[in-house]
Amino acid sequence: MMSLNELKEMIEKELGALAFKVDSEAPNLIIINVEAPNLFEVAFKLNHMGFDHVKVVTGTDYPIEKKIELVYHVSSYTNIDLAKVIIALKIRLDKSNPKVKSLVKIWPSAEYLERETYDLVGIIFEDHPKLERLLLPSDWDQIPPLWKDFKIKTEGIDA
């Protein structure tokens, strides 16, 4: 039985200089901040440690900083100790050129999650087996809907 802090230290040791910040947050979250070029290697090492599947891939738009934050939430099925924590692997990408190497080769479970993120947030995953529209109609020609500059209507409380 490993505590959250022990696991955090273990990950820090394993990743070394690849990750620039490792945080832990009770009760079950470890946040690893990574530079985009190191992402693939970090993912490889995490997979090797036993984190075998991706739960969530999220892209969040930060229009003021002109960045898009990409988060992979990763955990394990096989190792009970690791299954109790979720790892958030965070990368910040430039909004003008949101490109990153796809992690499908390491975690095949990310395939549709990445494809959806491409569809709705507009992040381009290089080496992805099938990077096409998934949820939106194939003739969608506006900006990705989850960007903050994509406005939807709202109504007040008055008729």
């Binding site: 109504e155 409380i157 008055d158 008729a159």
Partner: protein, 156 residues
């Protein structure tokens, strides 16, 4: 190919179980227009509005997740009206009302021919939801649970 004895046994078991239910009295159809289920007091059906209790606090319009409740100006007051085209019957407006000016009714079985009649302005809203029309007075029933039959209907 000759089937195994166990396969034949399982076939027979399935058929016998099926036959059993021809004779077991286990009907549970609610013959709707003739029978109407009386729902419990806390059922979240269409909403009744008491204009005299309302203090125009706008809480109901602000919590409505579907923007179905809007505030209309009636004379000097702002009073809520509801749009059943959007209402999702979550009941948040009733639960947040501090003066109990909104109330659940157990009317739930309405359909409309046009879109326009589904918008209720404050005056209509305070008259309560329209009563469903039945050609014949329906039999009111309550649902009881039963160990051997599952659902059982009893006349009230």
């Amino acid at each position: 190919m000759i089937p195994k004895p166990s396969t034949i046994k399982r076939h027979l078991e399935a058929i016998i179980t099926g036959l059993k239910y021809i004779f077991v009295k286990n009907r549970l159809t609610l013959r709707y227009p003739e029978m109407v289920q009386l729902l419990s007091e806390n059922y979240r059906g269409m909403i009744k509005y008491y204009m005299d209790r309302c203090i125009s606090c706008t809480l109901c319009a602000r919590i409505c997740p579907a923007d179905a409740i809007k505030m209309y100006t009636v004379g000097e007051n702002k009073l809520p009206g509801i749009n059943y085209m959007r209402c999702i019957f979550c009941g948040f407006c009733v639960d947040i009302c501090p003066k109990e000016a909104l109330e659940f009714t157990n009317i739930h079985d309405l359909a409309y021919y046009t879109r326009e009649e589904q918008i209720q302005k404050p005056i209509e809203f305070s008259k309560g939801p329209p009563k469903p029309i039945f050609k014949k007075e329906p039999m009111k029933i309550v649902v009881k649970l039963d160990k051997s039959r599952g659902l059982k209907y009893e006349r009230t």
